[in-house]
Subunit: 263 residues, 4 copies
Amino acid sequence: MGKLFDVVLLILILLSVIFVMVESVRGWPPEVYDYLYYGEWVITIFFSFEYIARIITIKRPARYIFSFYGVIDFLSTIPLYLSFILAGSNFLLTVRALRLLRVFRILKVTRYIGESNKLRKALLDSRPKILVFLFAVLIISIIAGTLMYIVEGEESGFVSIPVSVYWCIVTLTTVGFGDIAPVTPLGQLIAAVIMIMGYGIIAVPTGIVSAEYVKSTGSSKIDDSDYVHVNSQSCRNCNAKKHRDDADYCHKCGTPLHPEDIF
Amino acid sequence: MGKLFDVVLLILILLSVIFVMVESVRGWPPEVYDYLYYGEWVITIFFSFEYIARIITIKRPARYIFSFYGVIDFLSTIPLYLSFILAGSNFLLTVRALRLLRVFRILKVTRYIGESNKLRKALLDSRPKILVFLFAVLIISIIAGTLMYIVEGEESGFVSIPVSVYWCIVTLTTVGFGDIAPVTPLGQLIAAVIMIMGYGIIAVPTGIVSAEYVKSTGSSKIDDSDYVHVNSQSCRNCNAKKHRDDADYCHKCGTPLHPEDIF
Amino acid sequence: MGKLFDVVLLILILLSVIFVMVESVRGWPPEVYDYLYYGEWVITIFFSFEYIARIITIKRPARYIFSFYGVIDFLSTIPLYLSFILAGSNFLLTVRALRLLRVFRILKVTRYIGESNKLRKALLDSRPKILVFLFAVLIISIIAGTLMYIVEGEESGFVSIPVSVYWCIVTLTTVGFGDIAPVTPLGQLIAAVIMIMGYGIIAVPTGIVSAEYVKSTGSSKIDDSDYVHVNSQSCRNCNAKKHRDDADYCHKCGTPLHPEDIF
Amino acid sequence: MGKLFDVVLLILILLSVIFVMVESVRGWPPEVYDYLYYGEWVITIFFSFEYIARIITIKRPARYIFSFYGVIDFLSTIPLYLSFILAGSNFLLTVRALRLLRVFRILKVTRYIGESNKLRKALLDSRPKILVFLFAVLIISIIAGTLMYIVEGEESGFVSIPVSVYWCIVTLTTVGFGDIAPVTPLGQLIAAVIMIMGYGIIAVPTGIVSAEYVKSTGSSKIDDSDYVHVNSQSCRNCNAKKHRDDADYCHKCGTPLHPEDIF
């Protein structure tokens, strides 16, 4: 029963996202927009009831409301109601924009996929490293962007430092739209250096995540249970080191390691 | 004999693919198109006989027909015959399109390469993880695409949410055609965030496959079940060393290694 | 107290960078440029005092001045003063360019982030390998660039070998601006080979860094010298198991493990 | 002495490459081209003498001449002489093209870098796997290219299947020039699938090389000498398996494994 409800909910979420996406396309017959409008209202009302039902039935409503999915559930229902309150011809476009925010509803989908946890964990584990890395990328982009702004100037499309930094990020990430491109020889030389640099440093986050993954999966066969931790204590008789942490006698000469404990 | 047939088949498949590709190019003399047409018919008839011969000679024809290669073999022969049945001047273009489907014939080539199995296995093993990852990429694209549609609007080429989502995938995957590019400062800022995000998360599938590969190849000898760990104990009779950890008798002279345990 | 000063400094550095970036954008009201000009002067004077204070208070000033951060601190203060000395209408643009160099001040930010050390070490460790790799990329680019210059010629935008080499780097690094693109069939074929080659060799630096990282993090317990391999032999006296491979006496009761070897 | 000669040679090679690259740029004063022409002749004559000297002084000249570097050395000297023989105004362009081949001379540089050997070995080791992978990429490109040709047609720039395949390679490798881009909704959908696919499979060669590298560097501590190969022979007395390859007696019961050899 609960499973059926989840599947229906999933289909409604997908339908709703498709409705918003289709509605944004121009050129359909006018009645299509009407049907989509009614469809969106039906789904929105259903989601509103579902949201209220969740709050009523759950033990700690506050915990749900301020949780990640609680906020998403709220954001998924509110935009269409807001389009009522904010009436006025000049607000029409903004209202439509608010309605589009209901696309956030699709995030509900992930709730039903449990396999993503491992992936999320791997991303979270390597997040600090990746953040430091991205910070370095940003600094390089700001400096290289300034350089390109000075070298290329406004004729080549590098109209300001922020735009140059934007171009630099486009280039470093190897996206390369080509809406702005260097035309002077010096600019092209600097661009080549930036690109090769980006080519070299793209390896860093990949290496980090790879290592994180390899570490988490481990080398299968080598069973940890065949290895024991040893300490740096040395035997007072034969000076042998690296005894097992739970050792009472030296493994080399059989002398008690902790006479005070035993006798 | 069978090997010669396979080589001839391989050459014919390659020739056929080249014929279709060459035929699609405009500007050859008219007789070239005629020769290509005849060539395609000869190869198609040969493939048809081969397909029928396979069905007749194989023990379980049904199993072959509905197998991966059976379907490809069928799709490789049918388009040219279809161009007969669907006669009519207004269907000409569609017919040419159906003929192009014969390019699927090239998939036959992979049948003759056995080395690809390992690669396919590695891809299949990490498929669920990659699918979850690609699903996350799609959700990010839909949300970011909607955001860009609201921010940039139709003047910048972001004419609808589907087109914006398409642009987002182009950007996240670092392809960056540049046919659509943000022009407003806020749009460029969001684009920069999307690109850096894409730069950071491209590491995830790479890390997954790397870990999968490292796990499967293992650290040289260790993962191999044909190797066992040996210890430094020496036999009191023949002084042979490196006995298996679970050895009771010397592998060189048969003397008990732990007489106290046995007798 | 010292921490508060650092935070204030960090905010001032960020403010200053934002000021320079905002100033480069055209279209603000004239008074905005005035405010930014005054703001930059205030921050520059503050940084100048800070720089002098550092030199006075530090034991070995010479060591600081010629250190990485000493040079950056100096470069962060000097451009605005230089804009005074190099007065003259025809030098105005250059002066503005020098002022933009103060963006280097942002490099100070990294000083306050300690976590970046590990990342820097990983990059430094794999630097020689990546340099050899990038050298190979450069040679490929020069040869392939010359080839494209001969094949495509000046009509397609490949106006000289340096420009062709620039295009080749843009393509090999998968940036692909599209400002220059091959139009002849042979040029497109060579471009396809270059791209597939670039696709294949992008794996090399990634593999290098991954291996470097995996090596440094190690496979859990195995690489750790604090762990020793134990075998399944059991003591004939107390039945304790998991003795070190080189153990002569039981670590639990001190009984000889191989009496025949000792007596 | 020999080292000095190598350094001079290296500088001359670099100079020569720079000369060819500079000469291809239009817009210098006419005398610059003259100087470059004389410079190229001086270096060519020096290289010719060096080539002849090598052949005379080396023990087995034939082995050098047909070696990788012998062929490069020959290709580095010949183009300028060829420009003499092939005189004639209509051959001028071809001659210039031949002269550009002297860029191959830069490959000499690699001879002086010994550190590249390890990198080359890693690439060679994973070459078969990468080749199979690239073959798969090519098949995908041909099929997807045909699909795009049918869907998009000639109005969008997909003028023939070879051009569509070229576009597909540009897209799959995430280069994305943007000279050709899909405009129909279905074409953009297929393009999105191709891009996400390319994003997913770029992980494969990276994973291969990473695993190859990790394997070659190995997990330091685990000494292979602590492991021995065992075979599948079973003891006729106790049925114990996995005996050392050089074992004469069963390690479990002490029964001779090869009675016919011993008695």
